[in-house]
């Protein structure tokens, strides 16, 4: 009896200790998750989405890119941080039975073109030169801000490319190609100038894995839709439109992204599992050896969304409102000009007034002429 009671007491004490530990672990776990925000080290997100094909039968590449664009916008990256390069000849193509639309699902369920797509490089501006200029930043000074990649050393960049490719090259608009060596060099130049913190490179073309073989700069993670020697296949044709609407890999990636919302904690390992060989026919590949963090710890929203780090402002500066604003600079001399007013470009009021006079005259004339004719008639 005496032995049982201390045992019970011990058991209770042990249980209490365990519970306390669990509680502490849980609290620190929540704390850790909140602190994890700072682990990725980025403060802003950019996306460069490139569709390298033109012509009607490459409809699916445009639909791929626009669908990724929509997902990325939905998860929070604003247009000012997205560089979209499209040939943009699908929506208004004479062969498009539904003008001003680009569908990404058969039975025309989802129109990814809409009315707020902001294409930065369209039609013949999608060239290898412009793409490399965007990446390296060697842009002529006259380029507008929306066409520039203004990333800094704390930017996570998502680069998505789709089109027709081969072993070691990617075809641009059926007239030129970019090789994997050039791409790797461009990324190295970005790294030298610290234009990115981490980079995610996704490519959906035939033999896509050859494009990331030559990368040698740190902090790059790459995904491709097929290995060297394999072709990436398209998903489904739409009989109404007459072309294939999407590629398999991007289709399943998009299905995966539909589950993601800005606060989700899904990590990159799940993205690697998307589209196994049974669904995709080709074998998707990925490369993470250049990446410093473990893909387990990399959130999808680190690249596809734009979750900002915030800190609470704890301190203020005390200002004295009664202090007269000291004129450290003399006030700018305002030239006392007489107020200018715009001249009427189209003096509508005057025109109407004049027209009114003419109309009045006209009707009077008509009346007179009618009177005359009727008088004549009667005279006859």
């Amino acid at each position: 009896m005496a032995a049982a009671v201390p045992a019970a007491r011990w058991a209770r004490a042990a249980a209490a200790l365990l519970l306390g530990c669990c509680g502490a672990a849980l609290a620190s776990g929540v704390q850790d998750q909140a602190e994890q925000f700072f682990k990725s080290g980025h403060t802003n997100n950019w996306a460069v989405l490139v569709c390298t094909s033109r012509f009607w039968f490459n409809y699916r590449h445009v639909a791929n890119t626009l669908s990724v664009y929509r997902s990325v916008k939905r998860l929070g990256i604003p247009d000012s941080h997205i560089v979209l390069m499209l040939a943009d000849d699908m929506a208004c193509n004479p062969r498009n039975p539904k003008p001003a639309t680009v569908f990404s699902h058969k039975n025309m369920e989802l129109n990814v073109y809409g009315d707020d797509v902001e294409v930065d490089y369209r039609s013949y501006e999608v060239t290898v030169e412009n793409f490399l200029r965007v990446l390296t930043g060697r842009i002529p000074p006259s380029t507008p801000r929306s066409k520039r990649l203004l990333s800094d050393d704390r930017s996570n960049i998502l680069i998505y490319m789709t089109g027709h490719g081969g072993n070691g090259f990617l075809k641009f608009q059926d007239s030129e190609e970019i090789t994997n060596v050039e791409l790797a060099d461009a990324f190295e130049q970005m790294w030298q100038k610290r234009r990115y913190n981490e980079l995610l490179f996704i490519i959906d073309t035939c033999q896509g894995a050859s494009m990331y073989e030559r990368f040698y700069s740190p902090n790059i993670m790459a995904l491709a839709s097929s290995q060297v020697g394999e072709d990436s296949l398209s998903h489904q044709p739409d009989l109404g439109i007459g072309v294939h609407l999407m590629d398999r890999y991007t289709f399943y990636v998009l299905e995966f992204l539909e589950e993601i919302h800005p606060a989700s904690q899904t990590n990159m390992n799940d993205l690697f599992q998307v589209c196994p060989k049974s669904l995709c026919v080709s074998t998707p590949g990925h490369r993470t050896d250049l990446f410093q963090r473990d893909p387990q710890n990399v959130l999808i929203t680190d690249f596809f969304g734009s979750v900002r780090k915030v800190e609470i402002t704890a301190e203020t500066i005390s200002l004295d409102p009664n202090l007269s604003a000291f004129e450290s600079k003399p006030p700018k001399d305002e030239l006392a000009a007489e107020p200018l007013k715009y001249a009427e470009q189209l003096p509508v009021a005057q025109i109407i007034h004049q027209c009114g006079d003419i109309a009045v005259l006209d009707s009077v004339f008509l009346w007179n002429s009618m009177e005359e004719t009727s008088a004549h008639d009667m005279k006859k």
Binding site: G41, R138, P141, E311, L319, S328
Partner: protein, 554 residues
């Protein structure tokens, strides 16, 4: 016989001429043709100072701070090493990594006070003393003046050993002995100029990321200009007609701060009012306080829906700082922000690193329930600007690091920035600029070396030369302690090096693998080279045969 011999001789002469002709063809092709082809297919590459650029790869900073240590009467410790006035130097060297080191040197000039300074130190309050002393100094950028006052002086409040003023001077109690005074002086000098950690943060490009704290990621990198946008968000114009005197507030509170920083960069300020702009998060209603709460973990999702409407894409190419003032809707008032522990945040504001800040401004309900909507709201700009200025300071990297005990830092007041804080900023920025230039130029040199077919124009070369000269002058000025000219030179160096690196002409487009090069040149050179080589081979064989023949016939 003679005819046969003459024919043979003529044959021989003919063959000799043929041999000479073939040799001369080959000679012209090799001596003239090859160099001509090489020169005409060369890309134009202006000369660059590769040796100087390589030397820049190793950065050893020498930072010198001129300090004047002034002893008030009765404050001299008994065990001073020498009689006043004298000079002393304190040096410290830190090796950050294999390619970067910092050597800091404080050049102290110790002397006793003049009569005017004594009178100034006799002022009633420490702020007046500080102001009076400021009139007497001619403190240039980067220099410090430390006034040592007797341990028992009543000028400083009880328990405070060091007072740092708004300008570049500080008042230090003499302490219990020379060692304590030395320690205090060192502490003050580090607060007012730079510490190893602040310089390390400025060199973030060269340091591994694990050594940096969140401070290094918060503030904007050194840039040639900034654009500051103040936005008023009114999601409910039916209930609130909000008026804010932003022009007045900016000219009274923000402009003095920016004027002080005008040496650092160009600033442009604009403001806008956005209607029907809602936050991305629905606040929770808290019954106990009958107010709405935004918890800390929902704050990151607040910014994105608003950002698209801020119009920062139409702004200039400089980094943009956004400051948003949000007046909550009637149905969501009052709205408070909770921090991680659940306590209400006093300032009701939060900021995002490298982006800007948001403050929530609560409006009291209408006095009488049947007051006509919309309510006129006049925003109290002082309260708002206090928070925005604090956030602006944080985003620029001017933060009051953890204050050690018994140190009193004077608040900068309406100017927004104390002179010594500006100095701190300039030290860090100069070091950062020099490090950036070093990285840019070394990577440019590497790139141009590696890729042989990039054209290097003359103006690119001249920018590189200018950048190298400016950075060398910046390092020299830093070593002497002229912070003003050092920063100026570093800014020039950054401008030139960025212009050189990002010049649009430095784009190598075509990657020719070797087999493509062969495919281009072989159809051109092979038809020409084959006859020459064959005839050279024939000449060689004949010469060998002739050498053998005399031995044979013998």
């Amino acid at each position: 016989m003679a005819a046969a011999a003459a024919a043979a001789a003529a044959d021989e002469a003919e063959k000799a001429r043929g041999r000479r002709a073939a040799l001369s063809f080959a000679a012209i092709a090799v001596v003239l043709g090859l160099p001509l082809w090489w020169k005409t297919t060369e890309t134009y590459r202006a000369a660059l100072p590769y040796a100087d650029i390589a030397a820049l790869g190793e950065l050893s900073f020498q930072l010198a701070v001129p300090v004047a240590v002034v002893f008030a009467p009765g404050s001299q410790p008994r065990d001073l090493p020498r009689l006043l006035p004298f000079r002393d130097t304190e040096e410290k060297e830190t090796l950050l990594n294999s390619r970067t080191s910092i050597a800091s040197r404080y050049e102290m000039v110790c002397r006793s006070t003049t009569a005017q300074e004594e009178a100034a130190l006799g002022a009633a309050t420490v702020q007046e003393a500080d102001a009076a002393l400021h009139q007497l100094q001619d403190a240039s950028l980067g220099s410090l003046s430390l006034y040592v006052i007797p341990e028992t002086s009543l000028l400083l409040p009880q328990g405070i050993g060091v007072y740092v003023g708004k300008h570049r001077s500080a008042l230090v109690r003499a302490g219990q002995g020379l060692a304590a005074l030395r320690a205090r002086l060192q502490q003050v000098m580090q607060i007012m100029s730079f510490t190893t950690s602040s310089i390390t943060a400025a060199l973030s490009d060269r340091m591994p990321a694990s050594q940096l704290g969140p401070d290094a990621r918060r503030h904007f990198k050194s840039s040639l200009g900034y654009e500051i946008t103040f936005s008023l968000l009114n999601p409910d114009p039916k209930s609130h007609a909000v008026h804010w005197d932003i022009e007045g507030a900016v000219s009274r509170y923000v402009q003095p701060f920016l004027d002080k920083l005008s040496f650092l960069a160009n600033f442009s300020v604009d403001s806008q009012i956005l209607y029907y702009a809602v936050l991305g998060v629905t606040p929770r209603f808290d019954k106990e306080s009958s107010s709405f709460l935004l918890s800390a973990h929902s704050l990151p999702h607040v910014i994105n829906p608003v950002e698209a409407r801020l119009g920062s894409s139409a702004a200039s190419l400089y980094p943009v700082l956004n400051f948003l003032l949000y007046v909550p809707e009637r149905s969501h008032s009052p709205l408070y922000i909770q921090d991680k522990d659940g306590a209400l945040v006093g300032t009701n504001a939060f900021h995002s690193p490298r982006w800007g800040g948001i403050m929530v401004y609560n409006v009291e309900g209408p006095a009488a329930p049947q007051a006509s909507l919309p309510l006129r709201v006049d925003v109290d700009m002082v309260r708002v600007m206090e928070v925005f200025l604090a956030q602006l300071r944080l985003l620029f990297g001017v933060s009051r690091e953890v204050q050690p005990p018994e140190v009193l830092l004077e608040s900068p007041g309406n100017e927004g920035l104390a002179d010594w804080e500006l100095d701190r900023l300039l030290w860090a920025r100069t070091v950062e600029n020099v490090a950036t230039v070093s990285t840019t130029l070394t990577s440019l040199a590497q790139l141009l070396d590696k890729i042989g077919n990039i054209v290097i124009k003359d103006d690119v070369a001249s920018e590189v030369y200018r950048a190298v000269a400016a950075v060398q002058s910046a390092m020299a000025e830093l070593a002497v302690g002229h912070l003003h000219s050092a920063f100026q030179a570093s800014k020039e160096a950054v401008t030139s090096s960025e212009r050189a690196f990002f010049d649009p002409s430095l784009l190598h487009l075509l990657y020719f693998p070797d087999d493509q090069k062969f495919a281009i040149y072989i159809p051109l050179f092979l038809p020409m080279a084959v006859p020459i080589l064959l005839s050279l081979a024939k000449i060689f064989r004949e010469a060998k045969q002739r050498k053998k023949e005399p031995t044979k016939t013998d």
